[in-house]
């Protein structure tokens, strides 16, 4: 049986493996107060961070604010980046901490809502059944805890290694694996309950 892995995804924080040296140079320039370098980095990370924060915070109206708060930390603290992780891991860890802080400001949990995932539904070339199936799966992910959603998002969309996720979330690698394990178990249960529809 042919068993294959996917290559890293387009939105992978680590996809600039070749470009991480370039990002390191940008950070050094930012540390010296270079606005142009900062705006280059900002524009490069904006799509990925927006997507990440939309999934973690799940309150569209605060995503931009959280993103800018995180990037302001990057601007201020670029000089403290010690090169022990990828630049992307460092930036995502800052964004994750800002996201948790923002979530903490809201008392009420966000109920899963179809609208959360409207923008991510497949294009018109996909069948209606596929769309419905994917929408249901994504809704189910939307009902998970912030930590489980974050692990799924970083793994499946951003192509992160579990060690990078542990660095971003500031937790042990076994915790990352456990969160993913529970999330998958829940999704499997959901799929088996709806076996007739899939």
């Amino acid at each position: 049986m042919l068993i294959g892995r996917t290559s890293k995804t387009a939105a992978d924080p680590g996809r600039t493996a070749d470009g991480s040296a370039a990002e390191g140079v940008l950070l050094r320039r930012i540390a010296a107060g270079d606005r142009l370098a900062f705006e280059t980095l900002y524009r490069g990370y904006f799509p990925r961070l927006t997507r990440f924060l939309e999934r973690v915070v799940r309150r569209p109206h605060v995503v931009e604010e959280v993103l800018n708060d995180a990037m302001l930390v990057v601007w201020r603290k670029a000089g403290s980046f010690n090169g022990q992780s990828k630049v992307s891991t460092w930036i995502f860890s800052i964004a994750y901490r800002k996201a948790l802080k923002a979530i903490g400001r809201f008392d009420e949990p966000v109920e899963s809502d179809d609208r959360d995932f409207e923008s991510t539904l497949p294009g018109p070339e996909d069948t209606l059944m596929q769309k419905q199936r994917w929408a249901l799966l994504l809704q189910q992910i939307g009902r998970m805890s912030t930590e489980q959603r974050t692990v799924i998002e970083l793994t499946y969309y951003h192509g992160c290694a579990y060690r990078e996720i542990a660095q971003i979330m500031g937790c042990p690698v076994d915790t990352v694996k456990t969160r993913m394990f529970h999330a998958r178990k829940r999704l499997r249960q959901f799929l088996s309950e709806r076996a007739g529809e899939f």
Binding site: G4, T9, R35, N68, A78, T155, Y157, A161, F181
Partner: protein
């Protein structure tokens, strides 16, 4: 319950079960991928689980347009002025301050010219990179222009890399740009073989979409 960390006994079966998502996204290292592959060959349960993970992976990676950074950046700019970057915690040892004063005038002049050249070169190098890290859509004004014979191809996210390489070889194409935020690649084919390449690509299950890339002139 959800917060409890499982104690994973490291049998090959359990190791494979826990690592499948990262096996699928290609991020395993240090021999882990090989261990997973070896176990998968002999374990139907794990192969079944891999398919379930692959389904989720496919459903999760979907096309979407990248948001525009411009408006958000406009809001951040005033705050950048207020908050200057903090100095680096540790700085390399500097030369004594008096050394500059001891330099002959011509060395100072040569250094000034050198710095000016470095700055100018640096500026030139940086300018084209300004959007290099940014995603672009195929329709965006900042997207690079491609030859009229180019194709835009979206592969199944679950397709292994070697499968993608095989398809490209059969179609006689090579990737010249991408991926875009919607996972599209620009594939160049030799002039005159556009239609043949399209037909071949459309026959491949690993190809989700293959269309000629319309140039501005073509529109």
């Amino acid at each position: 319950m959800m917060g409890r960390v499982l104690s994973f006994a490291r049998s090959p079966h359990q190791t494979t079960q826990e690592l499948l998502p990262w096996y699928l996204n290609g991020s395993l290292g240090g021999g882990e991928a090989e261990e997973v592959e070896e176990h998968l060959r002999g374990c139907a349960e794990c192969r079944s689980e891999l398919e379930a993970v692959r389904l989720l992976h496919s459903a999760y990676i979907v096309s979407e347009l990248p948001p525009d950074a411009g408006a958000a950046l406009d809001k951040l700019r005033p705050r950048l002025v207020e908050a200057a970057p903090a100095p680096r915690p540790r700085r390399p040892a500097r030369r004594p301050a008096s050394s500059a004063g001891l330099m002959p005038a011509w060395i100072k002049f040569a250094l000034a010219v050198q710095f000016a050249m470095i700055f100018a070169l640096g500026w030139q190098v940086l300018q084209p990179d300004r959007t290099a890290l940014a995603y672009h859509t195929l329709a965006s004004a900042s997207a690079p222009q491609h030859a009229a014979g180019s194709l835009v191809v979206v592969f199944d996210p679950a397709a292994p890399q070697r499968e993608v390489a095989r398809v490209l070889r059969l179609a006689g194409g090579r990737i010249v740009d991408g991926p875009t935020a919607s996972n599209g690649f620009i594939v160049a084919v030799s002039p005159g073989s556009l239609q043949a390449a399209l037909t071949r690509l459309h026959e491949e299950p690993a190809v989700v979409l293959a269309e000629p890339l319309e140039t501005d002139k073509a529109r």
